[in-house]
């Protein structure tokens, strides 16, 4: 589904990713771990098309197409979703309107009919339950005045509605208490299907107790320094990152 080869990326003069290669197949869950500043959030944002990073070398193939050649909205329409580490507040635009706009633009791009507001509300009811959120939230402005936990749940709600093929969760666990973490993980697990894939970017192993990865990659200094199975996450939890960073 996703094939990253020798990806280099910079902000200004500073190179942040220094040759990343990674393959993600349908049905898989990958965890990308690493110390602060290792480039893992950058990788997530580059896949989604963040305008602040310049890809200087390498390729990203997504379902046979050049992902880097697509605008962020086209990536989303083709099934790429990034749950933001810091979701953006949009005062005055309700969650319901925002999500319906996104949902319908994606449908339109796929040649499907747009859904009317009433039908859409029914769909939302079901999705809200998944992340244990109240319907009142639909009529509040996007993320405006939300607590940290509410923002993260809202990201998973968006993911549940948009049903991406490739979901990337960027530090979705940071700042969550244990209950919110369970809810978020429960949502992600419920959305898992054989034909979609999930990439979890995280600093801590904690979330991986609830969402069990098939592969764990350790990013340090802009490179993947080690890959392994789910047991690698536990090893990292016990030993920290230093031994890998030093080895790299």
């Amino acid at each position: 589904m996703l094939k990253i080869e020798n990806l280099h990326c910079s902000v200004g003069e500073k190179e942040i990713l220094k040759g990343i290669s990674l393959s993600v197949n349908a049905g898989e869950i990958h965890a990308i771990m690493g110390p602060n500043g290792s480039g893992k959030s950058t990788l997530a944002q580059v896949i989604a098309g963040h305008p602040g990073f310049e890809v200087t070398q390498g390729t990203i193939d997504y379902e046979g197409s050049d992902l880097l050649d697509m605008e962020p909205e086209v990536r989303a329409q083709k099934g790429v979703f990034l749950a933001f580490q810091y979701p953006v507040e949009i005062p005055g635009v309700t969650n319901a309107y925002f999500l319906r706009s996104a949902y319908n633009e994606i449908r339109k791009a796929r040649g499907d009919e747009e859904m009317d507001p009433m039908e859409f509300l029914d769909l939302m009811e079901a999705k809200l339950k998944l992340v244990d959120m109240d319907t009142a939230l639909l009529h509040r402005s996007v993320n405006a005045g939300f607590s940290g936990g509410e923002k993260k749940r809202n990201e998973i709600l968006q993911m549940a509605v948009l049903e991406p093929k490739l979901a990337i969760l960027d530090e979705t666990d940071s700042g969550l208490d244990i209950d919110a973490l369970r809810v978020v993980a429960g949502g992600v697990n419920a959305l898992r299907k054989p034909d979609n894939a999930t990439v979890i970017v995280t600093h801590y192993q904690r979330l991986l107790n609830y969402i069990v990865p098939d592969f764990v990659h350790v990013l340090a200094g802009g490179r993947i320094v080690k890959s392994g199975g789910k047991e690698l996450a536990l090893e990292l939890e016990a030993k920290g990152y230093d031994w890998l960073v030093e080895a790299a």
Partner: protein, 437 residues
Amino acid sequence: MTGGGAQYSEAFAALGGGGPPAWLADLRKAALAEFSTLGFPTTRNEDWHFTSVTPIAERTFRSAKPPSGAPPLTELLEAVTGDPAWPRAVFVNGSFDGSLSSLGGLPQGVRVNTLTAALKEEPEFMAAHLGKLATFDAQAFTAFNTAFAQDGLVVRVPRELKVPLPLHIIHVADAQAAGCMLHPRLLVMVEELAEFAIVESFVSFNGTEYFTNSVAEATVGNGARLHHYKVQRESREAFHVGTMQVAQGRSSLFHSFSYASGAALSRTNIYAKLLGEGAEVQLNGLYLIDGSQHADHQTFVEHIAPSCASRELYKGIVDGDAHGVFNGKVFVDPEAQKTDGKQSNHTLLLSPTARVDSKPQLEIFADDVKCTHGSTVGRLDEIALFYMKSRGIGAENARALLTYAFAAEVLETVELDALRDGLEHIAFQRFTHTDQR
């Protein structure tokens, strides 16, 4: 520059002396004299540095005649934002229209009178208050209004009465107003511990080129609260100058919201004097302009008493060749210790030729005060755009929604649901070109 008053001396003579009563005739004469001396302000005047009123000064507007016929009520109510159930006073081309007005919904004790009736029925009150706050010393447009104001409204809210519904004052200009000047006058007295809200809408029905020069003066008593919402949606060929002068007592609140999307050239002056300890003033506004429109807001908050707070948030979205101006002055008297002042002005420029001038001015003569101001001029936040696009929303739609969101932040300060909904709808439609929110 023409002499202001001289240009209008014939029109003044035609009014027949400006009285009775005699004090009013004297007041008007003095106002005309001041207007003649001052002339229209030029851009050499610091307060008018970014706004040239040459288009107003080079024309000679006629006094408006009482209109023959008026817009149908249903159409009028559709053209304004707000709840049709609100009590309303309607002025057509400057003249009060009793048939379009409906003041029955106001509770007992609230006195609403037209300027003409008030001069007859409550002469002592009028002599004591008219022109006392909105003084015309060095204020050409206030002098101009004082000399010529023929109609308007006088509102008195008695002690401790909290009026549940706002009073909607609707100023309509129609095709007959072409070439005319309209000088509406508003006098408001909110007594101790009372609460009142006024919505003033300026709209046009096939209006073309006319000049609205409104003056309002309001006293907010101790512990009283006054909300004033101004919705300026004049004809795009019109000129609009609106001045409001407010005096606030102890622990009172004055909250002003100014929406400006109409007129070729508009200027809104809001002057608040914090005279009693612990008073609070909140001034908010939104200007949405394009084409060759010019919209200027000037605020002047005088912290005279200690422990008062002032909060200002003005936002603008400027497109085309339009020009927005914000000039916010805060004065802190040596006596006004513990003053807490905060002022912000944020403008979004949607085109390379759109322009804004933002000028905060702080004059602080007390030492124990907290005063801040911030001003930003910018374009849409790239990260917010990316967030929307990453959800599949196309670039154009994402820009439209974010532009609306920029306006919505200040519209949220409108506490009247029907008015806020109406303005949100207008702003949403303006930027997204769709009705559904």
